[in-house]
Amino acid sequence: MAKVLMKGNEAVGAAAIKAGCKYFFGYPITPQNEVPEYMSKELPKIGGSFVQAESEVAAINMVYGAAGAGVRVMTSSSSPGIALKQEGISYIAGAELPCVIVNMMRGGPGLGSIQSSQSDYFQATRGGGNGDYRTLVYAPANVQELVDYTMKAFDIADYYRNPVLVLGDGMIGQMMEPIEFKETEKMDLPEKDWATIGTKGARKPNIVNSLRLQAPELEALNQKLEAKYMEMEEKEVRYESYRLEDAELVFVAYGTVSRITKNAIDLLEKEGIKAGLIRPITLWPFPNKAFAEIPATAKALMSVEMSQGGQMIDDVKIANEGRLPIGFYGRSGGMVPAPQDIVEAAKELLGGVK
């Protein structure tokens, strides 16, 4: 089918609607306002419902209600707003409900800046809400992936009955790229017989709830959740290995930064330095197995992130298992790394490890 030029934020909305999502609850925050604006325009056309909630807190709770009522539902925000949603995300995971949450990251901490960052990696993968839960996290690198993984997120959320996070940043939300909506393999999804849609007097009440006052019951729930997360770790890891063959240095980068890093790899090639990239697409579960593909020629890893000191670097260290030295290059506060700066940092790292 023909490709369409779309702004990332709008493409998220279009992808959600294509995936059968008719309910969206959100709140204005830069740089993702086009998401609720697009949904406010399009959902009434298809008999859906859009609510600009009074806060991000209210929005995630509306998501909780609608998800419990058995429908596909999404919310979006940016870093400080996602911070507000943490309680709600924990409740959604605890009550075993599906939903999609989109974060277009901006600089932090606190009010921060309105430009891109990747400083919510911990928030996304470690979870800012309370309790033993995980959210699967997709980190698209371009608007096509944003579309593909937003659509996939709804299936994954329904299959596992768990919230799924799509982690973008201000750049990917604002940029326009040609995209197409691909027909994907239909997942075998069970009926939502647990949903609160009214008993019709024909069954016992369904209760959507994360409270288990008896400790053994709560432990049993946590064990059930853990089993889901282990299944995700086994089946849902996604990553890209890029030019790893004979690489002396392997970068690890995700999202828009991975594209800048690929430019740096080209520049290094011109200087006779072979570099490759492991690009996690799922940040959780992190692609530990990708690190087995690192060639014997590699002398070092470098995590490249829009973060001061790095957050993904912690997972790189875990996956590395102490084998290779790990360097870092990053910018924060909304600053975007330039390919040449990554090149200089890489050369400095390699100079130190020869």
Partner: protein, 248 residues
């Protein structure tokens, strides 16, 4: 002889965990009776709060959703937007609704969400052991107001019904009490109207029910009823503040 009063199908078999004399039991029952009498039990989804009535999801014989503290009106909004033909209600205490949930209830009313709220006002935080609530009376003692609520530090109690009645989207607002059988019957009538408001698609409906908390007020259930009558009723006047069937 004919049976004139029996346990409603709107409640499950589970016995209430509430303290002896706690008016939650009365309010649960009359709400459940209303839902049964309106014939909507099978099409109802209730949203339980955090508070003593957190376990309401075990007592109402309909689909239930347990919300985070204060968020029930937002959760109910999500359910009602997804299922506009169903009956959706929230059941909330005064800490839940008037403190942490103040924004959510105001905005549900503001948007005119077609949901019904049963608001149990007993001027205290029950479940957590008797802390001051926004509705605690001046001079009333609570565990976080050990010298009595000090107006200069904490302001005067919040009159939720009056506040919500100023909002255009709030179509039905009534304050009732469950201190006597006559008032219990009136409260039930108001709750029925509040659900009819939803069924007729008129907008947001709330019934504020003046209630007792014998345990945290430190008195017997019978004395608590008197305390409600002598202290709460003068400050929180009963009556209908708004209804959508008023003749212009």
């Amino acid at each position: 002889m004919a049976v004139v009063f029996n346990k409603t199908q709107g409640l499950t078999e589970k016995e209430f965990h509430y303290c002896p004399g706690c008016t939650h039991g009365i309010i649960h029952r009359i709400t459940a009776e209303v839902l049964e009498e309106l014939g909507v039990l099978g099409d109802t989804i209730g949203v339980a709060p955090v508070g003593c009535s957190v376990l309401a999801y075990d007592y109402f014989n309909c689909d239930m959703n347990e919300a985070a503290h204060g968020r029930a009106p937002a959760v109910a909004t999500g359910i009602k937007r997804a299922l506009p033909d169903k009956v959706v209600f929230t059941y909330q205490g005064d800490g839940d609704l008037a403190s942490i949930g103040a924004a959510e209830v105001v905005h549900a009313a503001h948007r005119g969400e077609k949901i019904t709220t049963i608001f149990v006002n007993n001027a205290i935080y029950g479940m957590t052991g008797g802390q001051m609530a926004p509705t605690t009376l001046v001079g009333q003692k609570a565990t976080t107001a050990p010298y009595g609520r000090d107006e200069s530090l904490c302001g005067q109690p919040l009159k939720v019904s009056e506040m919500l009645a100023t909002i255009n989207g709030a179509a039905f607002v009534e304050r009732v009490a469950v201190d006597t059988p006559a008032n219990v019957r009136k409260a039930k009538k108001a709750i029925k109207k509040a659900f009819e408001c939803q069924l007729e698609g008129k907008g947001y409906a709330i019934v504020e029910v003046l209630s007792t908390c014998p345990t945290n007020w430190g008195m017997t259930p019978v004395d608590a009823i008197s305390w409600l009558q002598e202290n709460m009723m003068p400050y929180y006047p009963m009556g209908n503040l708004k209804n959508p069937w008023e003749v212009e």
